[in-house]
């Protein structure tokens, strides 16, 4: 595993993180009330969320120059970690032992894939 590979894999992970941020923004926007149906879609929060989302697709294309395709969905599974953190911190959602064990298994799986693969 060389430095270049780690850099591009890190970039893909950053893209997954940004994608989770855009999901949070969309959820925040969905919880608000709007005067019209158009405003529901054309408001700064939703537009910015979609700009970030398109940005993450460009980041992933760039990262795939080095990252193998088979590793992509594996790294994408880290979104569960971010979603949990945002869910607890921003939306006051609850976390339980099954979710924590699930997240630990995902992290272990990524570790095994990267180190033994």
């Amino acid at each position: 595993m060389n430095r270049e590979f780690l850099l591009y894999a890190g970039l893909l992970l950053f893209g997954v993180f940004l994608s989770a941020v855009s999901q949070v923004m969309l959820k925040k926007a969905a919880l608000r009330t709007y005067p019209s149906k158009i405003k529901e879609y054309l408001n700064p929060l939703v537009i910015f969320a979609y700009v970030i989302f398109v940005g993450t697709t460009l980041i992933s294309v760039y990262a795939y120059r080095v990252v193998p395709l088979s590793l992509g969905p594996i790294l994408e599974a880290t979104s569960y970690i971010y979603v949990t953190i945002f869910g607890v911190a921003i939306f006051r959602e609850t976390i339980n032992i099954k979710k924590i064990c699930g997240l630990l298994l995902i992290i272990a799986g990524i570790g095994v894939y990267a180190l033994l693969g």
Binding site: L69, S70, Y113
Partner: protein, 140 residues
């Protein structure tokens, strides 16, 4: 007593409906897995786009195709989660890890090792366990 009579009657009514419901569910699951295949195809186009220089014809075609597939996925995903519990849909999403490996091996000559297979199995198990932690809050 009345309760048990009602239960028997309901059971009898549902007996006739069961095969139809199972058939409907089968269609929804089939739709879900076709959709997840579409999602994995969007990743394939992302990988293909990475092989071209930025804004070249090849890049625009592959990137455009990726966006199109992602858009289709987003629209139909909204429809699927109306018919399935969210946690079931998310648990099935773990299959994209398998598709990623299949496409990688078949289309991009990537090698699969026991370590990679074990790592992927752990990630899939992790996703399933995580989603099962949402049991009882399916409407969330």
């Amino acid at each position: 007593m009345r309760y048990s009579v009602y239960n028997m009657r309901e059971k009898k009514q549902n007996q006739g409906k069961k095969p139809k419901r199972m058939k409907q569910n089968l269609h929804v699951y089939l739709g879900l897995h076709i959709l997840l295949l579409v999602y994995s195809a969007s990743i394939v186009f992302s990988k293909l786009a990475s092989g071209y220089s930025f804004l070249s014809v090849g890049f625009i075609l592959c990137y455009g195709m990726m966006l199109l597939l992602l858009g289709m996925y987003a629209v139909f995903w909204q429809q699927i989660i109306k018919k399935l519990p969210l946690m079931t849909a998310y648990a099935n999403k773990a299959v994209t890890v398998v598709w990623g490996i299949v496409w990688g091996v078949v289309l991009f000559d990537e090698k699969i090792t026991w370590g990679k297979a074990l790592g992927a199995a752990l990630v899939i198990a992790g996703v399933m366990l995580y989603v099962s932690g949402d049991q009882g809050k399916e409407a969330a």
